[in-house]
């Protein structure tokens, strides 16, 4: 259903210019915290966090075609793992991130096993159930001594290490950015190769993929696990950035926001995760500026408007626009498809 | 007699893939005209183009009025019934409901009720199966149902897409005999698309041969039958 083009082999000239472009972009991204206020730096950190979560959901939904309406639950697990480890066990914040990732990898994989029997809407319902149950589970009395019940857990903001001359907000931004780069590199490696092709094959031609020897059961649960891992890592980072976890911040609305993010950013697209993250972080603010009375109505209008203008998401629109531009700019470098 | 259907310079495309490259043909009122050609020649696309089911350009007139800009639903209302490729059965509805849908646009409700009996007289097997889910009918019965559904419109023109496809010769013969009867007794004009050229030429008055989206030969059925190239390539003798 989606035109997925996993990093087609580009000619060397354009790949060189692409590297230069990426380096310039990275430099700009690194300079950002020095150009904006601490609050904006915090918001940008959240964009990075969401981008990691969206990449995770995109692996599952965009690349593998399994719809999840419950990824907020994995985000919540990641956040709580980080918060509990820091608050109850004094684990350093940076160590909680990989632990959260591993816990979510395992949870996601296990959840993916029964979910294998479910397709399309039924999977959507199962994941929906997960997303709805999560806040209620977190509030449960038996877990209260760990989770802090409805009150949640407050975390202390980490200071920059090695006496770096930056403030904690800036440090968290760079910390998150580093993990984002790592996760994106990992994802890019994973998705452009054999695994990515298998995931897409399962999405588009499930029967044929199986006939070609793709172990679809394994790949599907693996996709679930890896996807949950990304989202869990994001959850941990998010908890550290926000310095607070509470059950009601991880309701079903968060899961739906993630889904909106990947569709608007662009399904089966790695940069799409970033566009989507920008959308879900900033558009509600813009909506709030436009109308204090009914900000969500404005947000809804934005959602629908984006889908009218870019039915295949921002990444898809850029891809189409770029192809058109190249065709117009004289056919020498013309690559069909 | 005037031409009921007149097609000129008809082009059609599925997205970027062009299938018809300027087809011209016409069909006399009351006649049976066949479009012949190999697989992929554009026969089915021609029928779909007449009903605005593909992107087209060119002129199509029916009964003297231009119809190429009309929507499928409105073309039906002019009295063109289409038995599509693959039969288009409503598989979850009963046989009777399928037939009733054929008469959906008709206003003469009483005549519609009588037409059920007319159809059942042609195809008694459908009467036996009228309460059965249409998807459970055999291939031949579904083809009969498709033709009957089209006839429930009381069409002026019947478009038949490969009625012989996938059916046993005996059933094909039965259907073709009924087509002839309907053409003669009810004056329904028929545009027939067939790969089975021999059977089509036996039934038709007039035929066009289509190759890769163009008309390459036309004439009366007898003339076409005598053509050497047709005999070699399509009739096999």
């Amino acid at each position: 259903m989606m035109p997925a083009s996993p990093a087609t082999a580009a000619p060397t000239a354009s790949s060189k210019s692409r590297i230069i472009g990426l380096a310039a972009l990275l430099l700009a991204v690194c300079a950002l915290p020095f150009m904006v206020s601490n609050y904006h730096t915090f918001q940008l950190t959240l964009v990075l966090v969401y981008a990691i979560a969206l990449l995770g959901l995109n692996i599952l939904t965009g690349y593998n075609g399994q719809i999840s309406l419950g990824h907020g639950a994995f985000y919540a697990i990641g956040a709580y793992v980080a918060a509990i480890l820091m608050d109850k066990f004094g684990v350093p914040y940076w160590l909680t991130v990989p632990v959260a990732g591993v816990v979510c990898l395992a949870t996601g994989f296990l959840f993916g096993l029964p979910a294998l029997r479910l397709e399309g809407l039924y999977l959507a319902l199962a994941t929906f159930a997960l997303g709805v149950s999560m806040p209620q589970l977190l509030k449960d009395k038996h877990l209260e001594q760990w989770t802090g019940g409805v009150q949640g857990i407050v975390i202390i903001k980490p200071d920059p290490p090695f006496g770096l001359p930056i403030n904690p907000d800036q440090w968290l931004y760079y910390f998150t950015l580093a993990i984002l780069l790592l996760m994106f590199l990992l994802g890019w490696n994973l998705l452009r190769g054999r695994v990515g092709r298998s995931l897409i094959a399962i999405r588009d031609q499930p029967v044929a993929a199986e006939a070609m020897g793709v172990n679809s059961a394994l790949y599907k649960s693996l996709a679930f696990g890896v996807s949950a891992m990304y989202t869990g890592v994001a959850g941990a980072l998010g908890a550290i950035a926000v310095q607070f976890v509470a059950p009601d911040s991880f309701g079903i609305f968060l899961s739906i926001t993630f889904l909106v993010g990947i569709v608007i950013g662009g399904l089966a697209s790695i940069p799409g995760a970033i566009y989507g993250a920008i959308f879900i972080q900033f558009v509600p603010n813009i909506a709030d500026e436009i109308s204090k009375a009914a900000p969500w109505a404005i947000y809804g209008v934005f959602m629908i408007g984006f889908m009218y203008v870019m039915p295949v998401g921002v990444a898809g629109a850029i891809r189409i626009g770029w192809a058109r531009f190249r065709r117009k700019a004289g056919g020498s470098g013309h690559h069909p498809g | 007699m005037a031409a009921l259907l007149e097609v000129s310079n008809l082009h059609a495309a599925y997205g970027p893939t062009r299938v018809l490259h300027g087809i011209d043909f016409s069909l006399e009122e009351g006649s049976i005209t066949a479009l012949l050609g190999a697989n992929g020649a554009g026969k089915t696309t021609t029928l779909r183009a007449l009903c605005a089911m593909v992107q087209t350009s060119g002129e199509i007139s029916f009964g003297g009025a231009r119809i190429e800009a009309k929507a499928t639903e409105d073309i039906v209302r002019l009295g063109i019934a289409h038995v599509p490729d693959g039969r288009g059965t409503f598989v979850n509805l009963s046989t009777e409901e399928n037939l009733r849908l054929g008469a959906y646009v008709r206003k003469d409700k009483r005549a519609v009720e009588q037409d059920f009996e007319r159809i059942y007289a042609y195809f008694p097997r459908l009467k036996e199966r009228r309460h059965q889910q249409a998807g459970t009918l055999s291939g031949g019965e579904q083809q009969m149902l498709a033709v009957s559904r089209a006839l429930m419109l009381r069409p002026r023109l019947l478009l038949l897409d490969e009625p012989s496809f996938g059916l046993a010769p005996l059933i094909v013969r039965e259907i073709f005999d009924i087509m002839r009867a309907i053409n003669q007794s009810e004056k329904v004009s028929i545009l027939l698309v067939e790969q089975n050229a021999a059977m089509a030429l036996d039934l038709a008055d007039h035929a066009y041969l289509i190759e890769t989206g163009r008309v390459v030969l036309s004439g009366s059925a007898d003339e076409i039958k005598q053509n050497d190239a047709v005999r070699r390539s399509y009739l096999g003798y």
């Binding site: 029997r117 159930a129 709805v132 909106v260 | 849908l101």
Partner: protein, 291 residues
């Protein structure tokens, strides 16, 4: 035993609401293979319209029927104006449009009517009804009755009218439908209208129980979604049975097993369990994929 029967009956009453909303979901699903996430909010918004009419002094039943008509028109308009342009977009893009509609209606209701809860009247007497040795709330019995009437009318409409037949045909096989002259686009809009009208009835029946506020349908939509899937998402009858089943299950679980806090989660987990065993729902068709 008395208490148990009362719980079952209360379950049937809410089950009827779930059944109605589930049916609305199934109607749009059958035609488009999409779940309309905005269905619940549409019902909520319609209920507010009814509240406005009643508040302005209109007699209950007049407001009731007028609301149904308004909801119908609203549904048709939404389909024609908002959903139509994304008809050919990828599935998930359409889902995002539905989510957009959801937040818009929720937000509009909060903006126009505020988020404080409102009391919504019931057309049925306040005194409990006496059946044998049991007492039942008149509103519950009335709500079940209204639900059954709506379902009966719908059944008759789809089964016995040419328009109902055309709608079923259009949902099933749009290409063939066009070839017999059915205006498929309008059938879809009509389906939206009907779904919206059914939702309005469900909203007006549930509002006296849960009170009227912009978030009142969120949980109901969820149960309805579950009901539709348990019953088999392509089977209207199944959706209705699924609705009653989920309603009773939810009520009994809440009363006897786990308390009200966790009943939503538990009910959903149970439903997912059922679906793992029977992936097409209890009454759905098993799909055989052609290779």
């Amino acid at each position: 035993m008395d208490a148990f029967l009362n719980q079952v009956f209360a379950g049937l009453a809410t089950g009827g609401i779930y059944a109605s909303v589930a049916l609305a979901l199934v109607m749009i699903y059958q035609a488009t293979h999409l779940v309309n996430f905005a269905q619940g909010e549409l019902a909520m918004f319609s209920t507010y319209i009814a509240w406005t009419l009643i508040d302005a002094g209109m007699p209950y039943w007049a407001a009731f029927f007028l609301t149904v008509v308004i909801a119908f028109v609203l549904g048709v308009l939404i389909e024609r104006i908002i959903v139509r342009p994304v008809e050919r977009a990828p599935v998930l893009s359409v889902v995002v449009v539905f989510i957009g509609l959801l937040v818009i209606f929720n937000s509009l209701a909060g903006w126009i009517y505020s988020y404080t809860i409102k009391v919504f009247p019931s057309p049925f007497p306040k005194e409990p009804v006496h059946i044998g040795s049991h007492f039942f709330s008149a509103h519950q019995i009335g709500a079940v009755g209204v639900t059954l009437v709506v379902l009966g009318l719908l059944y008759a409409f789809f089964r016995y009218t040419p328009l109902g037949l055309a709608m079923r045909a259009a949902a099933q096989n749009p290409d063939s439908s066009r070839l017999v002259g059915i205006r498929v686009g309008w059938m879809l809009a009509l389906g939206w209208g009907l779904a919206s009208a059914i939702g309005a009835v469900a909203g007006m029946m549930v509002a006296p129980v849960v009170y009227l506020d912009p978030n009142m349908m969120a949980g109901i939509l969820l149960y309805a979604f579950a009901a539709a899937l348990v019953g088999g998402v392509d089977s209207p009858g199944g959706a209705v049975l699924g609705g009653f089943l989920v309603g009773v299950l939810e009520n009994l679980l809440g009363a006897y097993v786990i308390g009200n806090e966790l009943k939503l989660a538990f009910a959903l987990v149970l439903i997912v369990g059922v679906l793992v065993v029977r992936p097409s729902g209890l009454f759905g068709k098993v799909h055989v994929t052609r290779v």
